[in-house]
Structure formats: C-alpha cells, structure tokens
Amino acid sequence: MRIILFAKRNIKEILRDPINLFFGLGFPLILLVLLSVINASIPPEANNPMFSIENLAPGLAMFGTAFMALFTGMLVSKDRTSSFLMRLFASPMTSFDFILGYTLPMLVMSLAQAAITLLASCIAGLELSGNLLLAILVTMLTSLLFVGFGLLFGSLLNDKAVGGICGALLTNVAGWLSGVFIPIDLIGGAFKKAAEILPFYHSVQAIKATLDGNFVEILPHLIIVLGYTIVIFILAIIVFHRRMSGDKA
C-alpha cells in the first residue's frame, strides 16, 4: 500500500514536469526522425546499414531509457534537499518501500517510452511482429540499470550535480558506447573493447536480438546488463540506507 502510494506520487511528480515529458517520450522520436532522414540520404551503393531501422530502433529504445537515470536522480536529490525525504524518513516507510516506490514509476515510464519508440519505428519501416512486445519488456528490464544509476547519484549528489552526471555524462557515454550513433565494429580497437566491457552495447544487442527473433542471443547480452544492474542497485541501496539512518554516505 505504501509502495503504491509513494510510486503514484513519484509518477505524478515526473509527468507534471513538461521537460521530463519531452525528454522521456518526445526526444527519442525526434532522434528517430532525424536519423531516418540521414539514413534515407545515404546512397544504397555505400552499403552502410548503420542507421537502418533494424539497427536504429533497438538503439533508440535503449538510449531513451538512459533518461530514467536523470529522472530518478533528480527526484531523489530534490526530495532530499527539500526535506520532503526527511519527513518520509521519520514515517513508518521502510527502505524497501522507498526503493520500490522510486523504481516502479520508472519501469512504467520505460514501458511507455519503449512502446512509443518501437511502434513509431514500425511506421518508419520496422516489421510489426509479436517480437515487438517481447522487445518492449526486454527494454524495460535493461532500463533498470539507469534507474539504479539515478538512485545512486540522487542519494549522493545535489540536483545540479545529478543533472551534470546523469543528464550529460551518462547519456553521452551510453549513447556513444552503445553503437547507436557510431559504428563500433568499424572503429574497433580499444573503443570496441570498452563498449563490450560496459553494459550499454549489450542492452542494445539484447533488444535487437529480441526484435530479430534471435532468442539464443538475448540471454548472454542480458546477463551482462543485469550483472551491472545488480551491482549498481546494491550500491544504491547501501548509500540510500545510510542516508536514511542519518549516516554520511
């Protein structure tokens, strides 16, 4: 009951901010249109499938969820600095209520965002199939990584610093090292190795494998993403719990 009440409050706080709505739901669509236009202007003889809709759709679905780190981080940080969280810390709410109460609305947002991005991709030429539903669920699962980042940085930093780290740094790292905007295989070397070590590229590959119906390839990528997610969430829970106990994180 407390979790649902708190989650409802959090989703209202996010959706009542028009900037959140723009970045959460509109920005991936703008990128989809822009990159599709670029793709259309690449001559077929160039044989460059970089921005083909089959590659673009999973990349943008993942990239859109990177903003969940910003939303979660800003919300937690603002709640802390405005003393609203202090009021709730003095209430019977447990750390479990808080973590789930912050996480559930982000999963709902990710679900809606992935559905909008992937359905819009169908208008741009992506095949509409049952795999699309599964890809929405996989995207929601991979978005947990960013929710964890948001919880961690929101518990540690003020809202300006969260804006810088989650809004600028993390979205850029996730974008560049996932292969959405640049061809990782073509660049190769240390860049490719870094991309393969980090989870963002694997998130895109898990979503792509789902859309392609290449189910045996989903799990190996998903395991890497979920491994990072578990570590980030454990760190976030430790820091949040220390904040709740009044200890310095």
């Binding site: 409050r9 706080e13 003393s83 609203f84 202090m86 009021r87 709730l88 810390f89 003095a90 200890d247």
Partner: protein, 241 residues
C-alpha cells in the same frame, strides 16, 4: 505520565559532540520548547527523538518504545514538521495531505475525512487544488504542519515552524499550535522568544550540546536573577546581559 524519557543521550560526529549527555522528561500533552543559539544541538536532538539519526550513546523512550531498539514502533506514533518546508512540490494541497495519511496507514475513506479536517483547521480550503510549489511561504508552512498532524500523532516535533513567516502568518500558526495543547505532546524548537512565551509550558535551554537549564519562564528568570526570558536565555547560553 511521561511521554518522552531521555537518558544520557549523546551524538558525536567524529571529534565533535553535537549533543552531550542529555537527560530530560516531557509529560503527556505538554508543549516543550527547546531553545539555543545556532549549533546548540536542538535539531540534532529532535532528529534523534524522531529516529532520523542514531544516538552515539544513551537512549530515549517515547510512549514506551526506545528509539534505539524499536524505531519503527516509535515512527508509527510520531510526526515531524522539519525546519525547511517539506512538501511534494508538484502535488496539490489535497494530494499532499492524502499521501501523508496513506503512508501512516489510513484507508482511503479515513484519509479523505482527515484531509478535509486539516484543510478546514489550517485555512487551506481556498488553495486545496493548487500545487504546493505555487503556494506562498506561509501557506507551505501551514500545509507542512497539517501534513504532520494528519496522522493523529501522539508526539509532534516542530522544528522552527514559523521561520521566515510574516507576523500575521506567525500569529495564525500560533493559534493552530495552541489549539493542540493538552491533546498532543509537542516538542518545538524556535529562535523567537515571544513564541516560546506565548506557547510553551516548559522550556529547555541548550548550549554547546548540553541542556543548560529546564523550567517555566518564571523559573528560568528566577534562576538567573533576570526580569525577562530574553535575559535569562542570554545568561544561560553563556552570553552577557
């Protein structure tokens, strides 16, 4: 009957002692004011009593439950209005109140009934559907205190509730707090001495983390050989009259 019993309560941050060996009892229905200059340890004391920070040593028992051993049981019976206004900015007045009521376990029907009572008691009817961030500072304070009271707490902590309010808004809040006297045990911190004289049953003066004196206004002025609470406060806080 004692509602709050504090025994040898201390809080240290590294080498700095914020609260030093505090001993105090507060009776049921009493309005107890904690006074002290900035950094005297008032807010740290309130944070320990409301289970927001753990004491380094000592204990406090609120309504039979220890803040060290049963913080969850303590949290069910208390509420707090923090120093800074603590409201959900993008929620309306009604939504803020109903959220708080729900968090303290009230069902929807009771939460709605209590919300209407708080709206009426704190004069929030004209702004009931406004977002909290659109309210004036005074109205936000009122909402913050209404949120602290909606759970029917047996102990209420008010940390500088009238800070930054104009005279009229402060007087209105005083009337709301006075209406609670005898029903709810209230621990209030403030820098306004006229507020203490108008509202409190007893006063505790803190200096350098220690409780320098406890008593009524008359007892404190008599103890210090002064005529006014302000002079008694200055003497007990280590200043010169």
């Amino acid at each position: 009957m004692n509602t709050i019993t504090i025994t040898n309560l201390s809080k240290k941050y590294g080498g700095f002692t914020a609260v030093d060996n505090l001993n105090l009892t507060i009776e049921q229905g009493e309005l107890f004011a904690l006074l002290g200059v900035n950094g005297a340890g008032k807010t740290t004391t309130i944070k320990m009593l409301s289970c927001l920070i753990k004491p380094t040593s000592g204990n406090a028992v609120l309504l039979g439950d220890s803040v060290r051993e049963h913080p969850q049981a303590v949290k069910e019976k208390i509420n707090i209005s923090p120093q800074e206004t603590a409201v959900a900015a993008n929620l309306s007045v009604i939504e803020n109140l109903e959220l708080t009521a729900g968090i303290y376990g009230q069902d929807i029907k009771t939460a709605m009934k209590m919300t209407e009572e708080m709206v009426s008691q704190f004069g929030l009817d004209g702004v009931r559907n406004k977002k909290a961030k659109q309210l004036s500072g005074g109205m936000q304070r009122r909402l913050s205190i209404a949120m602290a009271l909606i759970s029917n707490p047996q102990v209420l902590f008010l940390d500088e509730p009238t800070l930054g309010l104009d005279v009229l808004a402060r007087r209105e809040l005083w009337a709301s707090i006075q209406a609670l006297k005898g029903k709810v045990t209230i621990v209030l911190t403030t820098h306004y001495l006229e507020e203490v004289e108008a509202l409190s049953d007893r006063i505790g003066i803190m200096a350098n983390g220690k409780l320098a004196a406890v008593g009524t206004v008359a007892e404190l002025t008599e103890q210090t050989g002064t005529n006014k609470l302000e002079d008694a406060f200055v003497v007990l806080s280590g200043g010169a009259v």
